[in-house]
Every structure is written in structure tokens, then in C-alpha cells.
């Protein structure tokens, strides 16, 4: 890692000027990010299952540090089907070579849900030496050898839309899939449809920092300590959207917006799911801080385990 101090601090604090730093993040992340370190880029394998690639596209939007810095200075992204140069067997070999050379030391990122019906055939992701691989098979091979798994996005973290009512593909979250297959590799959930790029980069940087400082097992132990009951890092998911919404006062005062385009008031009566959703979007905002979900319309609760079924219908009359 070699990121400058300013980038680290920006990453932790979001972009809201004047916001109290102490409210924004856990001390562990603050310590990790306020210190510039140099070291080798640890190998990362990024697999995708039933996904829309939206989590990857969100990661591309990281500003502090930039995605170029993440790719060239922070991690060695040895497999990611959307960005890597190689293709076919050249690409697939990179998965197997990385696992072989870095047993127990590489990080696995999984984007998308894992379909388990029909022997996993609803998601065929590779062919190597005349053998076809489903994402379920690949995950079973790779996950046991990883230091930790990052389940990026609500599909990977909780099943998300591919596992919603009406689905027939047996879509599962990464943690459920690993548990069924008795794979004990620790999983960190980074929910959100998509997750904010800071949540992804912040968690990766934290994990790298802690494991470099304290060794792999002890460092990951520290990461696990900051996870909530849903396996998500508290610094990013610890706060309720509604409780931290700038329109909370309007809610308390009974001042509600009658339509999407009325902006002076609380959006609860439009169907806002903020009261049942946790993340730091109200403070961090999105896309360089230019906007966020509730400011623009409503929260649809996309970071939660019961998204989308428990949050549907998204809008009220």
C-alpha cells in the first residue's frame, strides 16, 4: 500500500465538510488509514456469480483513493473477468496459479449470488482444459484456500434480487453457500445494491493494514470484531439511515413531502425505507458527494438482508 494521508482520511470521513470525524468511523479504521505504509500488493481474486456487475462499476467510482491507485498500488487484482486483459484459459489459469502460490494468503471477493439448483448450471463462468465450471464449483475450490472472503453487494451478502420471491435458481448468499459446504473461511459482508465504493475500498484497506501489522490470523480477528450481526463492518453499516437523515426533524414535526419533487420535508409517506435500513449514506453521500438516495427520492433499503422482498413495495401512494 502506498496511499497518501489525505486520501486515507478522505476515505474514512466521506465528503461532507465539517462533519465530526469521530462519528464517522471506528478507531481501528482511523488508525489504519491515517498511516501510510508500503508493502507488496496482496493478490485478490474477484469472482462474479449472478450479478449485474454494478458492484464492480461502483468500485470504479472510488475517488479517494482513485481506482487507478487501488489497482496499481493497493491490491494485485489477479482475476476479475470485467477488467483483466487475459481471456479464456489464460484468465482461468490465473485463478489456479494464484491459489497455488498463495494458499491461505490471498483475498477472495465474490460479487453476485450463487445459484445452486440444476447443479449450479444457472451460472457457468469458465472452461479450462475442456472442463466447464459453474460459479458454485469454482467457489467451492477457491474459497477454502482464501484468507478471507469479501461478499460484495447484497446479492453476495444476503442473496438479494436473484434470491427474491419468484426465483427458481436456488440463489444463495456466499455465507450460506460456504456454510452448507462446510467451508470455514471468514466472510465479511459488504451489502448494498450497489455498495458505496468507500465501503469496499475502506474494508479492503483495513483488512490489509491489520493483517500486515498483526499477522494474518490476528489481523483478521480484529476485522471480525468490528462486524455487526449481519457480518458487515460497523464503521459503514452501524448507523440507521432514518436516525441520521437530515429530514429527521421534519419526521418528528410531522412535515411530510407530498410528492417526489417536493423537497421540503420527510419522505416517509412516499415509501422511504430509511427507518429499516443501515448505512452511512446520509453522511457520506454518493458520487463525489453530489447527491444521495433520500435527497433525490427515497431509500429502498438495499443494504438489508430482507431486500428486496421485505422492502417491497418501494413506494407508497
Amino acid at each position: 500500500m502506498s496511499l497518501n494521508r489525505r486520501d486515507f482520511v478522505k476515505l474514512c470521513t466521506g465528503t461532507v465538510a465539517g462533519f465530526g470525524v469521530s462519528q464517522m468511523f471506528h478507531p481501528a479504521i482511523r488508525d489504519a488509514l491515517a498511516d501510510t505504509t508500503n508493502g507488496g500488493r496482496p493478490p485478490v481474486l474477484w469472482l462474479s456469480g449472478q450479478s449485474c456487475t454494478g458492484c464492480s462499476v461502483s468500485l470504479l467510482d472510488t475517488a479517494h483513493p482513485t481506482i487507478a491507485d487501488v489497482l496499481l498500488k493497493v491490491i494485485s487484482l489477479n482475476y476479475h473477468s470485467t477488467v483483466m486483459a487475459g481471456e479464456g484459459e489464460v484468465a482461468v489459469a490465473s485463478i489456479f496459479d494464484t491459489v497455488k502460490a498463495n494458499k491461505g494468503k490471498f483475498f477472495l471477493v465474490m460479487e453476485g449470488a450463487v445459484p445452486t439448483e440444476a447443479a449450479g448450471k444457472y451460472c457457468i463462468v469458465a472452461e479450462y482444459k475442456h472442463k466447464e465450471y459453474t460459479v458454485a464449483e469454482l467457489l467451492k475450490m477457491v474459497a477454502p484456500e482464501a484468507a478471507a472472503v469479501l461478499a460484495v453487494g447484497t446479492c453476495a451478502a444476503f442473496g438479494g434480487i436473484p434470491a427474491a420471491k419468484g426465483s427458481t435458481t436456488g440463489a444463495k448468499s456466499v455465507s450460506a453457500f460456504l456454510k452448507e459446504n462446510k467451508i470455514a473461511t471468514p466472510v465479511v459482508n459488504l451489502s448494498g445494491c450497489p455498495p458505496h465504493p468507500d465501503w469496499i475500498v475502506g474494508t479492503i484497506v483495513l483488512a490489509l493494514k491489520l493483517t500486515q501489522e498483526k499477522g494474518l490470523a490476528a489481523g483478521l480477528g480484529e476485522v471480525v470484531k468490528i462486524l455487526d450481526a449481519d457480518g458487515r463492518p460497523n464503521p459503514f453499516y452501524g448507523d440507521n439511515v432514518h436516525e441520521n437523515c437530515p429530514h429527521l426533524q421534519s419526521y418528528d414535526g410531522g412535515k411530510f413531502c407530498p410528492s417526489f419533487t417536493h423537497k421540503d420535508g420527510c419522505r416517509y409517506e412516499l415509501g422511504c425505507k430509511g427507518p429499516g435500513a443501515n448505512c452511512d449514506s446520509p453522511k457520506r453521500k454518493w458520487n463525489g458527494g453530489v447527491n444521495w438516495c433520500v435527497e433525490n427520492a427515497t431509500c429502498i433499503g438495499c443494504t438489508e438482508r430482507d431486500f428486496p422482498d421485505g422492502k417491497s413495495p418501494f413506494y407508497s401512494n
Partner: protein
């Protein structure tokens, strides 16, 4: 190298899975004979079942859920769904609503096309740094750019990462966030553009537009001039379709990029009733084959014999038609950029003023598709200049409506990667049926019931593969479609 199976008769079968640097899971299997592709099968490897998941929900949920079909072009899915809902709910969008939708969708066009050329396609032509994810690559990757031009390519790859991020900020200013916007809903958009927000949008837009004019367009023509042979490969059926996108008036009929069909060398009007979806070679129930869009069904049959893809085969008038920037530019036939006119003359000896002056043989090619996309990017950028002037700061963008007990609506638009159709039927205020014909499926589909190859499969025929261990041109062709 790819999985290859040489055979005695001088034929070899090559499988490439995954085809990387695309959105989603795609496999290509080609048969090569005498250095050229003679047969091709394209497999879409993933199924989620959006249509089934949408069934029975509040119809308004659709504009959120469908965006998760594609994280690169969610704005197109929300637009298409909103159009279908507008029609089903009989709600008329205000002028400001229409223009704000164009500003959101337009900004993402810029983002998507820049992302496609630089971060998905460019590594087919530009040699990246000797580190992951730029390695591993093919042992003989056929990278021909001179060192100085290659350096420009790498620098622009990095700069384009910033530019596309800024374009996403433009989307988020009125869309709420990106990927997956909150701003496009039935009845219009959720946020009224203020003067301040339009200024923010405009400031970012100028940076993006400058990059398109000064870097992206010249880069595409320059790279193309080094790979002139790729203007002669990948022609396919030479038939194409556009549903039209970016409505310019309240009727929605007049669009910046026109609706139309180009079939067997003839232009025709577009009529959605001519669309049918075939599934003989898809992993879907045979009894659902040949249905029109408003009766479409999606019932998976993953062990079906002879099938090889999760993509259906949409056909127009029973014929395969390609979709995407080339289709839109061919059908719209606008004037080329000054850069394009100049470089076509300098580097190719071509006197071309309008897009079709490039000629059908050069346009329908690997490089022709990149040229069409780059030219379209500037065209959309120029239109955004007009929309910023046309929009009324503070003017209402959303119209109230009653959710009807029943009704139906057709949404037609164009995603950056092709023609997009959503059909909604409302029953008891819920989704009774929702049918999606996604953009990429127009291109990547397998053979239809008549045995005719899909557009991408057909375009692979004749593509040169001189070295079966380094079949670089196969994925070059595939990526040119931006699947």
C-alpha cells in the same frame, strides 16, 4: 491460449470462456479452418429470472428492480420501465421531465461508451503495464501500436477512469446516485433541476466533452488506422435495428437517434409487432418459442438437448438484426464529426461527410463498430448542450397518476449497447406479466428456430485466426459489440 481441439482435417475448435472485459458471463466457441472462423456458437452463461421475480409485485417497483439487470446501463432499464409504466398508467410526462430523463440517460451514455472503449476494449490494441490486471495476456497478443502511441493509449486509459467517474457524477446529480438511480420513475423524474444543479452538471459535462473531442474520437481513428484489416472483418448479416432514443418532443416519436430497421440492404420503418423471441437453441421451454413481445414467457429448461445459451433469439420479421451504436448511426445517418471527416480522409483516403458515406462494408466491421460508438458519443454530447439550454430551472418534472387496476404498456428505448424493450401488463394493481428483451440479447443470441445464426455468431464468420493458440480477433469482434 484458449481451449483448442485441433482436428485432422485442418479444422480446430476453440473455446473461450470467459470472454472477459464485457458485462456478464459469455462463452465463444469457434471452428477455425485455413486461418478463418467458419462456424461460431455464443453462449450466455447466466440466468436469474427477473421476469418471474417481478411477477405479482407493485408495478412501480419495476423501475428499481430492472436496473439490476445491468450495472453499466441501469439508467436505460429504468428509462424503459418508466416508459412502459407511463403508458400503462396513462400518465403524461412534463417537458422538463422528458428533458431531465434525457440528461440522466445522456450522461450515462457518455460514461458507458468511454468505459467500453478504454476499459473494456482498449487492451485488445494497447499494451498495458506489466502487472495485474494487465497481465496475463495472450503470448502473442498482436499489439501493433508504436511505443509513443501506446503510451498515449495507456495515459488515456487512466485519464478515462477519471472522466467516466465524472460522467457518473453527472448522472447522480439528477439520478440520486450511480450505479442504480433513484431519479427515473413513472411520471417523470424525482428531482427538479435547479440552476445550481444545472451549473454543477454543466461544469462536469465540459470536462467530459473535451475528453471526447480531443482524446476519445482521435484515439479511435488512430488505433483504427494501425489495424486497418479489422475494418474488413466481422461483417455479419449487415442488418440492424434501432428503437430510437432521446425523445425530442412530447409525443416521444421524434428521437435524437432514430427508430428504424435496415434489412437486406433496405431501410424500413420499425414496427414492434414484428418482434418475436425464439428459444429452440436456448435453455428455455420449447413451448414458449416464437411468441410476440406482449405474450413472451421465460420458463427455464436448463437440461434441454441441443440448447446452448440462456439468451433467447429475438428476431425482427423473423430475421436476425444487430443492435447498438453501429445500428443507430447507420439508421440515423448523421453528419460525422469534423475529426472523423478529417481523419477518414487523411488515414483512409475516404471522403465521408455522413455516417453512411463510410460504406456498408467498412461500417459493418470490428473497427466500424468502434467508430460508430465514438461518433455517437459526440453526437449525444452535442445534444446535451441543447438540453441544458432547453430545460427550465425549477420547472416540474413529475406528474401525479393513479395506479390503474389493469392496463398495459410498452417501453422502447436504446441502451448504449442496443435496442431495449420492456412490456408491462398490470392486473389487480400488480404486475401480471413483465417481459424484457434486453439490448445485448439482440446481438449475442444463438441460432433461431430456422437455424440461422445470431448477429454476433454470424459476424464471427470469416474473422482471421492465424494462430489457434492466440485467437485475438475472436474476442476483439465480440467486444466491438459491447455485450
Amino acid at each position: 491460449m484458449a481451449t483448442s481441439t485441433p482436428a485432422a482435417a485442418g479444422k480446430a475448435t476453440i473455446a473461450i470462456d470467459p470472454v472477459t472485459r464485457i458485462e456478464g458471463h459469455l462463452k465463444a466457441e469457434v471452428v477455425v479452418e485455413n486461418g478463418k472462423v467458419v462456424d461460431a456458437h455464443i453462449t450466455g452463461g447466466m440466468y436469474r429470472g427477473f421476469e418471474a421475480i417481478l411477477q405479482g409485485r407493485d408495478p412501480r417497483d419495476a423501475s428499481q428492480l430492472v436496473q439490476r439487470l445491468c450495472g453499466v446501463c441501469p439508467t436505460s432499464h429504468s428509462s424503459c420501465s418508466a416508459l412502459a409504466q407511463d403508458a400503462a398508467f396513462k400518465v403524461k410526462v412534463t417537458e422538463n421531465g422528458r428533458i431531465t430523463r434525457n440528461l440522466i440517460l445522456g450522461a450515462n451514455y457518455l460514461q458507458s461508451h468511454i468505459l467500453h472503449f478504454y476499459h473494456l476494449a482498449a487492451l485488445d490494441y494497447v499494451k498495458g503495464p506489466e502487472t495485474a490486471p494487465f497481465i496475463p495476456r495472450f503470448k502473442a497478443p498482436d499489439l501493433r501500436l508504436s511505443d509513443d502511441i501506446n503510451k498515449v493509449g495507456v495515459d488515456q486509459y487512466l485519464e478515462a477512469l477519471e472522466v467516466r467517474r465524472i460522467a457518473h457524477e453527472m448522472v447522480a446529480l439528477f439520478g440520486g446516485r450511480m450505479p442504480h438511480v433513484h431519479g427515473i420513475v413513472a411520471g417523470g423524474t424525482t428531482e427538479i433541476p435547479t440552476k445550481e444543479k444545472l451549473t454543477e452538471y454543466g461544469a462536469r459535462f465540459l470536462k467530459v466533452k473535451e475528453f471526447i473531442e480531443k482524446k476519445y474520437l482521435p484515439c479511435v481513428y488512430t488505433v483504427g488506422s494501425v489495424y486497418k484489416d479489422l475494418f474488413k472483418q466481422g461483417q455479419g448479416h449487415k442488418s440492424c435495428i434501432s428503437f430510437g432514443v432521446f425523445p425530442l418532443d412530447a409525443s416521444g416519436k421524434k428521437t435524437l437517434l432514430k427508430a428504424g430497421v435496415y434489412l437486406n440492404g433496405k431501410d424500413g420503418n420499425f414496427d414492434p409487432k414484428q418482434i418475436k423471441e425464439y428459444v429452440k437453441y436456448s435453455w428455455f421451454d420449447d413451448k414458449t418459442t416464437g411468441l410476440p413481445y406482449d405474450r413472451g414467457q421465460t420458463i427455464p429448461d436448463v437440461n434441454k438437448k441441443g440448447a446452448y445459451s440462456f439468451a433467447k433469439s429475438p428476431r425482427y420479421n423473423d430475421k436476425p438484426v444487430e443492435a447498438g451504436p453501429l445500428a443507430r448511426m447507420w439508421i440515423t445517418n448523421p453528419e460525422l464529426s469534423a475529426t472523423g471527416q478529417q481523419l477518414l480522409k487523411e488515414k483512409f483516403g475516404l471522403n465521408a461527410k455522413k455516417f453512411r458515406d463510410i460504406g456498408v462494408d467498412l461500417a459493418f466491421s470490428i473497427m466500424g463498430r468502434h467508430v460508430a460508438r465514438a461518433e455517437e458519443t459526440l453526437l449525444v454530447a452535442n445534444a446535451i448542450v441543447g438540453w441544458i439550454k432547453e430545460i427550465k430551472p425549477g420547472g416540474e418534472t413529475w406528474t401525479k397518476f393513479e395506479l390503474p387496476a389493469s392496463g398495459e404498456g410498452l417501453g422502447l428505448t436504446e441502451a448504449p449497447r442496443g435496442a431495449l424493450l420492456h412490456f408491462l401488463r398490470v392486473a389487480d394493481k400488480k404486475i401480471g406479466n413483465y417481459n424484457i428483451v434486453p439490448a445485448t440479447v439482440w446481438n449475442v443470441n444463438p441460432r433461431d428456430d430456422m437455424g440461422v445464426r445470431g448477429p454476433m455468431e454470424e459476424a464471427l464468420i470469416g474473422v482471421e485466426v492465424k494462430d489457434i493458440d492466440n485467437p485475438v480477433n475472436v474476442a476483439r469482434l465480440i467486444r466491438a459489440f459491447d455485450p
